[in-house]
Symmetry: C2
Subunit: 640 residues, 2 copies
Amino acid sequence: MSKPHNRRSARADAEQYILQRQGQPYPASRKIYSAGSNAGVNVAMREIVLQDSVIGGSNVAPLLQANAPVRVYDTSGPYSCADADINIRKGLAPLRQNWITQRGDTEIIQDFSSAYSRQQWQDDSLQALRFEQQAPRRKASGNSPVTQLAYARRGIITPEMEYVAIRENLGRANAEAAADARIQHQGQSFGATLPQQITAEFVRQEIAAGRAILPANINHPELEPMIIGRNFLVKVNANIGNSAVSSSIEEEVEKLLWATRWGADTVMDLSTGRYIHQTREWIIRNSPVPIGTVPLYQALEKVGGIAENLTWDLFRDTLIEQAEQGVDYFTIHAGVRLAYVPLTAKRLTGIVSRGGSIMAKWCLAHHQENFLYQHFDDICDIMRAYDISFSLGDGLRPGSIADANDEAQFAELKTLGELTHRAWAKEVQVMVEGPGHVPMQLIRENMQLQQEYCADAPFYTLGPLTTDIAPGYDHLTSAIGAAQIGWYGCAMLCYVTPKEHLGLPDKNDVKEGLIAYKIAAHAADLAKGHPGAQLRDDALSKARFEFRWQDQFNLSLNPERARDYHDQTLPQESGKVAHFCSMCGPKFCSMKISQDVRDYAEKIAVQQLDAEQGMQTKARQFRQHGAALYHKADTELDGD
Amino acid sequence: MSKPHNRRSARADAEQYILQRQGQPYPASRKIYSAGSNAGVNVAMREIVLQDSVIGGSNVAPLLQANAPVRVYDTSGPYSCADADINIRKGLAPLRQNWITQRGDTEIIQDFSSAYSRQQWQDDSLQALRFEQQAPRRKASGNSPVTQLAYARRGIITPEMEYVAIRENLGRANAEAAADARIQHQGQSFGATLPQQITAEFVRQEIAAGRAILPANINHPELEPMIIGRNFLVKVNANIGNSAVSSSIEEEVEKLLWATRWGADTVMDLSTGRYIHQTREWIIRNSPVPIGTVPLYQALEKVGGIAENLTWDLFRDTLIEQAEQGVDYFTIHAGVRLAYVPLTAKRLTGIVSRGGSIMAKWCLAHHQENFLYQHFDDICDIMRAYDISFSLGDGLRPGSIADANDEAQFAELKTLGELTHRAWAKEVQVMVEGPGHVPMQLIRENMQLQQEYCADAPFYTLGPLTTDIAPGYDHLTSAIGAAQIGWYGCAMLCYVTPKEHLGLPDKNDVKEGLIAYKIAAHAADLAKGHPGAQLRDDALSKARFEFRWQDQFNLSLNPERARDYHDQTLPQESGKVAHFCSMCGPKFCSMKISQDVRDYAEKIAVQQLDAEQGMQTKARQFRQHGAALYHKADTELDGD
């Protein structure tokens, strides 16, 4: 695992990070497991433990009221479990291995089916870069698909589906039944169906209908099953990957762990440099989340970057290579048809998808139809033998506000709809990629046309960015659009980092991008009215109102930053229990005053005094106790 | 200007910053002035100068094509002018002085009308803190209002109105007429009227109708007139101000300059600590933008923080004190009526507005109607004598997702509607404040009810925050909501910084909050279809596509950051002209490939060859030139 690299420090840090990796819990959190009916279905969740509420003032013994822990969706896998046995060199335990083998429709292959994989395996010079633990690889034993879609259509509820149902529910039935639970606002779901409780049968139906996918390659048994569909929680993808200019294997593995820790539901490895094959193996073996790739990038590497030298045979071998490594979904730019390329000529920013521009160049050079389109059924045949899902690439997505929703974009989208149906005919799972740069008033049309053309296959968009004028802040320009399209029905949001358009994201960029997108996804869940979505907001706001600072930090998406920001002006430990913060200072804290007001007003209501007379009496008492009330009046009024 | 302070370093830095202040242009920008018909109307704008586009490849002499400079709205005042005479101790030149005096309806007062102002002026111990240059103060000479609303209703177009019209247009007629200008997307304006060219008469009509305000106290002649209304560019406010816990006068002046440099259209001084009076004077005298305050904060300071000791007389004196300093708009929490306070008792987070909680406490303590409501007409009489605009405070805004759009909030909003009409009857300008914490699906209702209750008076909202779970990132949770409500018709967005809920913002927080809100406001302008809004996006995207990196940086909202992010991986000067960046590296740059594709496809279209035959011929040629095309094929194909 050593190679020449001129950025030794970053690489050394990364190596340190991954080799010394141990289970590292989130602050004030514990890992809990919720068992299903299928053997081995034991769904990991994170539970944030809260402090008690203190009821009453300081002159009487305060009443303590417990606050139920808050369960949150956990993408971090075993890495956030304190006593997990982590060894990056060995990879994660194959959670799904038995489920896959017990289905009896796959077989172990004796050698890699890909010529390139065999060559890489036999090249001794790559020994040092190679992932050591090689598990046997599988493929479908017959011609029948081994996809979750095929099972779902046959009425089979797989352990993966049950896992997903439990995972999506987050035990919310208990939380909502709690005495102090608040009624969530009614959502506006734009036609989404959001059952109060997700059952495994519901998951099966959604997959069978093509409205959701459960990306899970049989060669990636390590992943914790998750689902992507508009009737489930909105998901977030993080892109990682080295480029020719930057970063090493160690750094990419570090980014994977980092991304899942900060909430990435899936991770795309977009590496384009050398050692893509080896990097990918390290990533997949250590990933608790589905991994997506754009096989075209590696294929292009294999032909020295000369797009017009790409061939179907070479591409096919790349698909199989990656399939047997365990990639869970492939971005395939089969919608960039020859006839659409001239439609981009008048654009302000042409074709901005890498895959799209490569295929456009190939089409023009050969004046032939896109070979991915021509061989689409062949691609399906490969993917269904490993259960790889399609992410139908939007190679003609707009790269600027000016180019949004144009003819080229929607021509391709229509073709993606056609391809969706062709993939479904082969029982391959499909999601569809979307833009890009789109001003707010044009976002809805994207969602509507995608649903229409692609028959409700899940939509997976990059942003969209709602303005072009803020490079350095495109996580933010795009979080605005992502929140909206998530609300309208987009199933997964591909993050954008602050480095977008400017450079390769580093660890901090990955974190900032993810948090922006966790915010967007959660805002969308709230807006749709996703059951239980408001529980965490309510818990955090209650903690805030009760000055439980530690709980407020721990419930937030980034506890470290919340604590740090607070401590910049009030670093003392006393600040963590203070009934104010440095924003307004002790005398002006509206929350503090408001608590006094509330105690007082509630008291009046409870006592059901004659409104007018009672209030006046109270007002006199209130004035008598005036100064005391301002600081610690609760108990005095309690004594009335 | 010295006082004891335990945070010497921050203060010393700030002192340094403001005393050494010189005109500091934005990168690649120049200050230009556009003259009006009224004497002294000379509207400052910022013009970003661009490099030429290079057409053609490297083997022939390249053609250079000029790119017109891009005009952008400039809130920074003289501070961004290289040769401006800046002296913080003297304050800005009184741009509007002649306009005010020539109207002949105001007079110079011989002494401050406020007892508190006189006392502060006579207190020698405050000498060191005092702003040195005391200009004469004015008030209306009769009982007639001296407000822009009063003039507008009488059909008078003031120089301020003409200034605003020119400022809003940004010279876009020229830019849109340019040969390469692109047609902007059609907006969705939700009923806004957005004329292609803003005339002074249009400004007058909007002010007369109450749909817009032009906040401009006659005692703040230094400000550059601006307008707030849904039919104009969406504006952004930044809050600054020290609290009892933190910060000094020097730091607040620094924050003012900083905020206007980063795009604050107005600034609210929310100081609550000592020396509020002195801090405010320094701020106003140096501010090119309108200054808002919440007079209640200072009034509370004067009664030692005891809300129930507040009286109308004391409050009245505070209004006059601030009026004669030049505050341009007052937040007045007159809508927190006694009867509404109990409606907050069942809330998750009670009353979270400082002003709201103070007034609620006062109401309960006295069991009397809010004295601001009772004396509302008296307040109007003061404000119309100086042309101070109302910002009707939403003291009962929701402080959590759970409390959004509840009975308390909308009861107050209805009262704000009543007060709007009462203010208009007195010819006082009015805008109305709004929430707060609101999930996306409930934002629209806020805008609709505000328009209905308040008869289209401008709406001015804090965010709204679309989720509670991300303290440390509430600039982002709220930019999502702000962009939406701006699109729906909100006229001004009050920024939220990353420190919201956690501590007092520092300089960096102010910048981050402002950029988030400039993004939100601009995204809203684009979505509404504001004429010319897309020009900057198009210019930046064109620069991006043409690899004019410097232009891309300079056109962005934060050129320093864009440049810095780029340079983190490609620091060399050659990276600034490279036809790729570190994201994808040289071989995978879709923009580069796309330019090749475009050149090629356009050529074909121009030559109008028989589509099929021509393309096949081209394909052969393309393959022959293959390798060359990939790197520098333009010229070879040009030779065909």
